[in-house]
């Protein structure tokens, strides 16, 4: 840079460095208010962070406790199922590094591979029984139902009667195989009424 005192740049620099300009308004009050605002904003931020952190903590704790309650029965079911235990064994064995354990597991694998049908049978049997249990037995007709109804206390009769009605409605929709068999076997007993419906007269006392 040319530092000669005879150039414009030097004179500009000199003038600007030497001069002082008084502010036209009260800048200090604005600086004070701005710096105070900055401080309060900081404290507010901290407070909001605290609130947010507390909320997250309580929510997560609540969620963990709630999910734990939900998961407990599922875990029990998993423990009771023998098929799953058998399936889990090889997976666990992969985590063990020792060669002996690997050999043992390979043997177990081989045994399992030899009897896949047993496994499948074991796994499938409970399912089938469950399915069977789920379906309503349609045979529960006149006698048993009547006996059950008589045993039920008076308060629950109304509700039970409703359920019987719904079952009757279902019967109308589908042909009961037992009634179909009955109608074929005892053709002689069935008579047609005036209304057009088939009625079978059976003497219960003879049985």
């Amino acid at each position: 840079m040319n530092t000669s005192k005879n150039n414009i740049e030097y004179q500009i620099k000199k003038q600007i460095q030497e001069r002082e300009i008084a502010p036209s308004r009260d800048l200090w009050s604005e600086i004070e208010s701005q710096s105070q605002n900055g401080n309060t904003a900081q404290t507010k931020r901290v407070n909001w962070f605290l609130v947010a952190a507390c909320l997250v903590l309580t929510l997560s704790l609540g969620a963990v406790l709630f999910l734990d309650k939900d998961n407990q029965p599922n875990v029990q079911v998993a423990e009771n199922n023998p098929a799953k235990e058998v399936k889990e064994n090889p997976v666990k064995s992969e985590n063990v590094n020792s060669t002996k354990v690997i050999h043992q597991n390979q043997k177990e694998y081989a045994e399992l591979k030899d009897s896949p049908s047993q496994l499948q049978a074991e796994t499938k049997v409970p399912e089938i029984t469950a399915e069977k249990k789920e379906f309503p037995i349609i045979k529960e007709n006149s006698k048993e139902m009547a006996a059950q109804i008589s045993q039920i206390p008076a308060e629950k009769i109304l509700a039970k009667a409703d359920s019987v009605q719904t079952q009757q409605v279902k019967k109308k929709r589908y042909v009961d195989p037992s009634t179909l068999l009955f109608s074929v076997e005892h053709k002689e007993v069935i008579e047609k009424t005036k209304g057009g419906s088939n009625v079978a007269t059976i003497d219960l006392n003879t049985k």
Binding site: I8, Q15, I31
Partner: protein, 186 residues
């Protein structure tokens, strides 16, 4: 006497670091006029320059912990004022940097005998923003072209051309003013 003065300065600095409002007020009173002069050399409008100065003072007080005692504290604070002014210009105005000038032309500036009865601010106010920024940084703040290039995100070549054009323009404005003054006297 000098030791006492230095001790006072160190005491003020330590109080400023503790965010002491009384110390802040003292520092403001000591430096506001100088800093406003600096801000005015970048921003011709006095109200905008004052707004920049308010922001700069807030930054100085807020980030005073980052001053590690390397160099002069006033110089550090002055740098914040300059940066605040540059940021204001960048954000509020579109700055155009003109193309490169041939290197040989840069050396052809010849000094002429000048009568120094001019107002520096009047000359600076007539410069375009790009010229004024580079000129002030180079001449007043004594930045190198590399430093100017870094702060303004331009190349050193552009910085050099802006300085050359700024000087040229200043001369033109100056001689025009001189002509006018002569005519008025006649």
């Amino acid at each position: 006497m000098k030791l006492l003065f230095n001790n006072k300065k160190e005491d003020l600095l330590s109080r400023l670091k503790k965010q002491d409002p009384a110390a802040q007020r003292i520092f403001y009173d000591q430096s506001v006029k100088k800093f406003l002069s600096v801000a005015k050399s970048y921003i011709s409008d006095i109200y905008q320059a004052e707004d920049c100065l308010i922001k700069a003072f807030c930054k100085i007080f807020k980030h005073i912990e980052s001053f590690r005692g390397e160099g002069n504290f006033e110089g550090w604070a002055r740098k914040i004022v300059v940066n605040e002014c540059l940021n204001f210009i960048k954000s509020h105005k579109t700055v155009f940097y003109l193309d490169d000038v041939h290197a040989s032309v840069l050396e052809e500036i010849h000094e002429e005998q000048i009568v120094f009865d001019f107002n520096a601010q009047e000359l600076l106010d007539q410069l375009p923003d790009a010229y004024r920024m580079v000129f002030n940084l180079y001449v007043i703040e004594e930045y190198s072209h590399q430093e100017i290039a870094d702060t303004l995100n331009i190349s050193t070549a552009v910085s050099k051309t802006q300085l050359f054009r700024a000087k040229e323009k200043l001369r033109k404005i100056y001689f025009q003013q001189q002509k006018k003054l002569k005519n008025e006297h006649l």
